[in-house]
């Protein structure tokens, strides 16, 4: 018997989850992958990028995937655990032959499944047989989404075969008690069901050419149907919210104005959290504006292999999200904070968009393949984002001077900050990071932080970033190349020959850390004030815009709202501490689904009725929504 009770409570480890449900912005945790299965899934993902990052494909097999619980990479693991030969796969990777890599990697996983099935049916004792079945089933998981998409009947047949196989291994019991014998005939029959399908579809000698590398069975690849495997992020990806969660400071809220009284802002808040405004894989994976910009700030943990060179960075014009917008340059950028957005234009790290509206449209349509947003959507998003305020900082006055609460070192550092240096063109740090202008000047400069893309390139100018709130947004520079504010000081000292002593650098760092600090940078949660309560409050606020949209009979925007909020509400229920109240949250989400269904049927009376029911049920639930 396994320690199954405890394992339930270790859901993050034991669950076999897809990374995200369809469209909901609440990603699910994913169970660990076996090393070779992880390498295979990574290979397919990276192999679909253009150009293919071959060094990352090689690393996918030689190193443990990011966040892996295994200390070995796929090849070393196979060397220890398997007799399957990896030479042909390694040769295909070395030759950078995409189709051959697909074929060899696919056959390798198929052979591993076969190897474990053979171990299961020849095992000397039930415990060993069960281990082999579990391992085989974990490896089969590498193909499972392709089979489910292309051949649901086969997926079902094989799923039952795995159950039959596990049930027929026999059980050793404890000290002989509860022992049951194995059922060899059933084991062999179940094994044959799995093996036959694997042989026919994944142990193929000559695979049909693949335009897109996927886990589709060969029979589907040969057919005329255009079956597509739902998009999935590869092992090592992380699109979960940052922990601790940044505190959101909204200007109207600080003034005591209720968001439900600002329907345009509330609708924009919903859109900021909605994957539905994007297209392609982003929408299916539940990626929204807030995935990268947690609570208007950053997400320091976000990582997608092939698109991120380090956590908190992403290349949004690569091959994955919108192939037509692929600039074929491997240039991920550190995710910028959106705090104080109305003061920080122009937009983009290089300030290429003077208009926040143009920038936002570019994000939706080009970076994330969404449909053209309506003017109302852009108005709403801007109305919301322009409410983002900087974090309150009692060590700083509103015009950027230190207060008595600031440490002495910061006061000394402020003098250095305001001192002109020859290496800075007789300017000071404060010349660009103007203290009484939110520590920026809305200009772009080439400070030598960008490696020229070609000889003679004059394309290295970057927008001056604010220093406010930066204590919590490491790393620094457009590419996140400097890990700390201290390293930023060192970089300027060296590249601009400032000639600062160690003590002066420490003082200047203390000043930056003081300017970049905040009284309360993160959301504070406790047993009842949980992340779910925050989500519940937000989602019901989003829904409140129905009070405006229903009378306007604005079907398109209502449906965008109900599709987003109903899915998120149901998905977020999985994070509740108050498990007993989950069914009521599901029922509440269904009220919104009913609003949407009625609007689709143009039955406005029914829509109003479901909306009323939602409001009264939400009010009744509020106390228990944690």
């Amino acid at each position: 018997m396994i320690r199954d009770f405890a394992s339930v409570l270790l859901a993050t480890i034991a669950a076999v989850f897809l990374l995200a449900g369809p469209g909901a912005a609440t990603p699910a945790r994913e169970a660990p992958w076996l090393p070779e299965a992880a390498a295979y899934r990574l290979t397919l993902f990276l192999g679909n990028l253009e150009p293919v990052p071959w060094d990352e494909v090689a690393t996918a097999w030689s190193e443990p995937y990011r966040g892996s619980e295994f200390t070995l990479g796929g090849l070393a693991w196979l060397g220890r655990e398997s007799a399957v030969d990896t030479d042909r796969l390694e040769a295909a990777i070395a030759q950078q032959d995409r189709q051959a890599v697909f074929a060899e990697a696919t056959r390798l996983i198929a052979l591993r499944i076969e190897e474990e099935l053979e171990r299961a049916v020849t095992a000397q004792d039930p415990a060993a047989a069960q281990q082999a079945v579990r391992t085989g089933r974990e490896l089969y998981r590498a193909f499972a989404d392709g089979i489910a998409a292309a051949d649901p009947e086969a997926a079902r047949r094989i799923g039952i075969a795995w159950l039959e196989l596990n049930s027929s291994t026999g059980f050793a019991g404890v000290l002989g008690a509860g022992a049951t014998p194995s059922d060899t005939d059933t084991m062999m029959a179940a094994r044959a069901t799995i093996s036959d399908y694997i042989a026919q579809n994944y142990l193929v000698e000559d695979f049909a050419p693949r335009q897109t590398l996927s886990t589709l069975p060969e029979i589907a690849a040969l057919g005329d149907s255009n079956v597509e495997v739902p998009p999935a992020l590869p092992p090592g990806s992380d699109i979960f919210d940052q922990d601790p969660l940044p505190l959101l400071v909204l200007n109207f809220e600080e003034q005591g104005i209720d968001e439900t009284d600002l329907p345009l802002v509330a609708y924009g808040d919903m859109l900021f959290d909605s994957a539905q405004i994007f297209g392609g894989p982003a929408r299916d994976l539940g990626i929204a504006c807030s995935t990268c910009h947690n609570r208007s700030d950053v997400n320091q943990r976000l990582f997608i292999p092939g698109a991120s060179h380090q956590p908190g960075a992403i290349d949004v014009d690569g091959a994955f999200f919108n192939p037509i917008f692929n600039d074929r340059r491997d240039d991920p950028i550190d995710i910028p904070s959106l705090r104080g957005l109305r003061f920080t234009g122009p937009y983009g790290r290089d300030g290429r968009f003077a208009s926040l509206r143009d920038f936002t449209r570019n994000v939706i349509v080009n970076e994330f393949a969404g449909d053209e947003p309506t003017p109302f959507m852009l108005d709403a998003l801007l109305a919301y984002m322009l409410e983002f305020d900087f974090l309150p900082n009692s060590m700083l006055t509103t015009d950027g001077r230190l207060t008595d609460a600031a440490p002495d070192a910061a006061w000394r550092g402020e003098v250095i900050f305001n001192t002109p240096f020859a290496g800075l063109g007789d300017r000071s740090c404060a010349s660009c990071h103007i203290p009484d202008a939110n520590f920026l000047d809305r200009q772009a400069y080439d400070i030598g932080s960008v490696t020229p893309a070609y000889a003679g390139a004059r394309a290295g100018a970057m927008d001056t970033p604010t220093l406010l709130g930066t204590l919590y947004t490491a790393p620094y520079f457009h590419d996140g190349s400097l890990p700390t504010l201290g390293s930023v000081v060192d970089w300027f000292d060296e590249t601009a020959s400032l000639g600062l002593s160690e003590a002066e650098r420490a003082d200047l760092t203390a000043y930056l850390e003081t300017v970049g600090a905040a009284d309360a940078p993160y959301e504070a949660f406790d047993e009842e004030n949980t992340a779910f309560r925050l989500a519940f409050s937000e989602l019901t606020t989003f829904a409140s815009t129905l009070d405006t949209l229903l009378p306007r009979r604005d079907a398109a925007h209502i449906l965008l709202l109900t599709d987003t909020v109903a899915a998120d509400l149901a998905a977020d229920a999985s994070t509740m501490a108050n498990l007993a109240a989950r069914p009521e949250i599901y029922a509440l989400a269904e009220r919104l689904v009913a609003v949407g269904a009625a609007v689709r049927d143009e039955d406005w009376a029914a829509a109003e009725e479901s909306w009323s029911a939602f409001q009264s049920e939400a009010r009744a639930l509020e106390e228990r929504a944690f």
């Binding site: 199954d4 405890a6 339930v8 034991a14 449900g21 909901a24 655990e81 974990e138 159950l163 000290l175």
Partner: protein, 291 residues
């Protein structure tokens, strides 16, 4: 996730400090030896064991050696032959070990405020199945035949409802009965529609994706099941046993709570109440597992 442990792997890991997958290296009497049972990835468990045994050694004042056994049965064997002094253990294997070798309950795990939990019968919301009787002739997946919440207790609910006459009658009532290998596998089989119902821990739906969780519900719940324990071999030095218990109880203190993640992640421990396991003993007798 199950990881096959071959001999090479066992030997390699046996070299990792005080943590090993093989038989304990130290002679009896010089150290406290604790058997751990792997859940998923033995490599991760080895790291966890190293972290917790180091802390325990500092608290108790004697070397603490942790080692991984292949399953509960092997842990009980280790207690019997003196290779282990202490083991983590499920309630059902504990009562069997108590009966066979006189194992002693020390501590019970606490989850969500209680040293107990329940088993439930889960179905898909859209299945139209509203009661246990609706499952007549339908397929069901359980976790494992030696599982309290993943088999015996949920099955007993069918008995209590008068639908089956003991475990032997289950075959006649259900269509097919599967042992999926764990809660997660049983729940996934149900959620995917491979079977009509799953018998598993009350928390097992948390193992499904958020979307799947919204699609499932439960139609029956067992009586409370006493939680997993920490047990000792008979004859373990009383003073050493007492110091071990004191150290483990320190894990309930706020400053030590983060160490619980190294120990299967309970919310804390309470002193074991042997009488709380009478129901499990009775269940084991009824199901022919205990004489």
């Amino acid at each position: 996730m199950a990881i096959r442990m071959n001999r090479r792997m066992l030997m390699m890991m046996a070299g990792a400090g005080a943590v090993s997958l093989s038989a304990p290296l130290l002679a009896q009497g010089t150290a406290l030896r604790i058997a751990f049972i792997p859940q998923e990835n033995p490599e991760k468990l080895l790291g966890d064991i190293e972290a917790i045994t180091g802390w325990l050694a500092a608290q108790i004042g004697v070397p603490v050696e942790g080692f991984v056994t292949i399953d509960h049965a092997a842990a009980v064997e280790a207690l019997r032959n003196g290779d282990a002094d202490i083991s983590f253990m499920g309630a059902l294997p504990f009562v069997l070990a108590e009966s066979e070798i006189g194992a002693v309950p020390l501590l019970s795990e606490v989850y969500r405020g209680a040293p107990s939990y329940t088993g439930r019968i889960f179905v898909r919301r859209d299945s139209g199945i509203a009661s246990l009787a609706d499952l007549r002739g339908r397929d069901i997946a359980f976790a494992d035949p030696i599982s309290e919440s993943g088999y015996l207790y949920p099955l007993a609910e069918f008995e209590r409802a008068g639908l089956i006459d003991g475990p032997d009658g289950a075959g006649a009532f259900f269509g097919r009965i599967f042992f999926a290998g764990g809660y997660q596998q049983a729940m996934q089989a149900m959620a995917e529609g491979l079977v009509d119902a799953a018998g598993a821990s009350q928390y097992a739906d948390l193992l499904l994706t958020p979307d799947q969780q919204a699609d499932v519900t439960w139609i029956a719940e067992s009586e409370p099941i006493p939680s997993h324990l920490v047990i000792a071999r008979p004859g373990l030095d009383a003073d050493l046993q007492g110091r071990f218990i004191d150290a483990m109880m320190q894990l309930n203190e706020p400053e030590n709570r983060d160490r619980l993640r190294y120990l299967y992640g309970p919310d804390g421990y309470v002193l074991a109440d042997s009488g709380a396991y009478d129901g499990v003993r009775e269940m084991a007798r009824r199901y022919g597992l205990l004489r």
